[in-house]
């Protein structure tokens, strides 16, 4: 960094931070899905990244469909593609919980193995039914380009839109969790399934919907992912480890922690990668995570109650 002036470093840090916004949104949304499945339901879902890919493919295929059949609609399809990505991933997640995960609660190793197998099956399904080649969505013009906030700062519009949608989703989920009956059912079921059933709540249905919502959020992350890169059957695997780290650093069970750690890790990663190679940047990133977890063993924002 010795060749840069202070002003240049400031500009680089600001620019890299904004270019890392899209990555941050992906991390946060992936982390949000894991927050529900791992942090709340206690299930380690190794196939979580494949729900991101499912959302990505939904967006790409819908984009292709609109381009070929309804070209006049091209500028607006994204508005419908995002809920569609959620819906497809929710539906698959709902069925996965029903036929697979529901039989494996309190068996973490079995769940790990089963969801890893599911991940391989889903990847192979993508290859067989959609194809192994990379695929991308045609983004509408209003999502392309950047907004010049000042002489030295250009903010990508897609990043800004993703950030707004991510904040909207987090606030929406927080309100859903705390203000609705379904949210209360989800919280109670994840804290004590047997007791929740003994209070008149249908825990099996709650589990299915909870798992479906978590997968659906990953589907939205996948739709967002198409604004950054093209999709392939194994595209999600690059994000699953980092998403778990975001969740652990933030503190299991904390939405604020998730947002803070997702932002912190994505922006730090983006800035470090400007100054050094990707792999060395990863080493530094993991070192920072290591130090944070040494100091805050339960994450940055963990809940504290009497045991």
């Amino acid at each position: 960094m010795g060749d840069y002036t202070f002003d240049e470093i400031y500009a680089i840090v600001v620019m890299q931070s904004f270019s890392g916004v899209s990555l941050m949104c992906i991390y946060i949304l992936m982390g949000l899905g894991l927050y529900i499945i791992f942090g709340q339901m206690g299930v380690i879902n190794m196939a979580h990244a494949e729900f991101l890919v499912l959302g990505s493919y939904t967006m790409c295929l819908f984009s292709k469909f609109v381009t070929e059949n309804m070209p006049a609609f091209e500028n607006y399809y994204v508005i419908f593609a995002i809920p569609l990505s959620f819906g497809v991933a929710f539906g698959v997640g709902y069925l996965v919980e029903w036929f697979l995960i529901s039989r494996l609660y309190h068996r973490p190793l079995d769940t790990l193995l089963a969801t890893w197998g599911l991940s391989l099956i889903m990847q192979q399904c993508f290859r067989s039914f959609i194809g192994a080649r990379e695929m991308s969505a045609d983004l509408p013009e209003w999502l392309l380009g950047s907004w010049a906030a000042s002489d030295i700062i250009d903010i990508p519009i897609s990043g800004l839109v993703l950030l707004l949608l991510t904040v909207f989703l987090i606030v929406g989920l927080a309100l859903f969790k705390t203000k609705t009956r379904m949210g209360l059912r989800m919280q109670a079921t994840t804290q004590n399934r047997e007791m929740t059933g003994a209070l008149g709540i249908n825990t099996k249905m709650t589990d299915r919907i909870t798992f479906g919502i978590a997968c659906g959020i990953s589907g939205i992350a996948g739709a967002f992912f198409t604004t950054m890169a093209s999709t392939s059957p194994s595209a999600g695997t690059n994000y699953i480890v980092d998403s778990f780290l975001v969740l652990v650093v933030g503190g299991l069970g904390s939405l604020v922690g998730l947002f803070v750690s997702g932002g912190f890790l994505a922006l730090l990663s983006s800035i470090l990668e400007f100054f050094m190679t990707g792999s060395i940047a990863k080493v530094w990133l993991y070192l920072v995570i290591f130090v944070v977890l040494m100091k805050f063993t339960r994450g940055l924002f963990s809940d504290k109650v009497r045991s």
Binding site: L184, R185, Q187, Q191, G197, A198, L199, G200, I201
Partner: protein
């Protein structure tokens, strides 16, 4: 109104409850007494549906057979359960803990009678359940069960971990609950003084079977005490 016939419960090969019959009348408070490991908690868990029961077992609430129904259906048919150790949701606020019980009812907010019975729960409404004392948690667990509008309330060792000075108060509270809500109560207990204050009928369990039964009018405290001593 509540009938249990030929109830069998096993953990694998090990039979814990064998051919147990029990009847509960409307408005009755029944004590099920016995030392640790005699099957009281297993009985309650099987009644509420946390544990399955063996073939031939029957659990009927006003002629509705519940033995093969999941827990939430049993609750919707009038059973409520306060487990040993309370099992409140530690990360939910006191109010939200109570609201979890409203799911099977038409109510949208916590009914006033809950706070009349347990004023401390109103004061601590926003505090997390896990941060209450043992006695407060017990009140919360009873309130949470009560808002499901039960016909039969199952209370598993409510005095466990509670200050001796408030045990009598709790016994009186049970009678108030019975009178206010016309609810029948089955309470598993080891504290005889509590049972003698609160209950109308006394059963003693040993080895998964009922070995002694008596009404309040004919209760022999010394005999029951012998069953409870190690």
């Amino acid at each position: 109104m509540f009938h249990i016939n030929s109830l069998n419960v096993s953990y694998g090969e090990s039979k814990v409850i064998e051919n147990l019959d029990l009847e509960l009348n409307k408005g009755e408070i029944l004590a099920v007494m016995g030392r640790n490991g005699m099957g009281k908690t297993t009985l309650f868990k099987s009644l509420i549906g946390i544990l399955g029961c063996g073939s031939g077992s029957s659990i009927k609430m006003e002629d509705k057979e519940l033995s093969s129904e999941p827990s939430f259906i049993r609750v919707r048919n009038g059973l409520a359960y306060v487990p040993q150790g309370r099992m409140i949701f530690p990360n939910l606020s006191v109010t939200d803990n109570i609201r979890t019980g409203l799911d099977s009812t038409e109510e949208k907010s916590v009914p006033d009678y809950v706070y009349e019975l347990f004023p401390v729960l109103k004061e601590m409404g926003k505090r997390k359940g896990g941060n209450l004392s043992g006695g407060q948690q017990q009140q919360l667990a009873i309130a949470r069960a009560l808002v499901t509008k039960p016909k039969v309330l199952l209370l598993d060792e409510p005095t466990e971990g509670i200050q001796p000075s408030i045990i009598k108060e709790m016994a009186e509270k049970l009678k108030t609950i019975r009178d206010m809500h016309q609810v029948s109560i089955i309470v598993a207990e080891q504290v005889l003084s509590f049972a003698l204050t609160a209950c109308d009928r006394f059963l003693v369990m040993e080895g998964g079977s009922i070995v002694h039964s008596s009404d309040r009018s004919e209760v022999d405290a010394e005999k029951i005490k012998k069953f409870l001593s190690v």
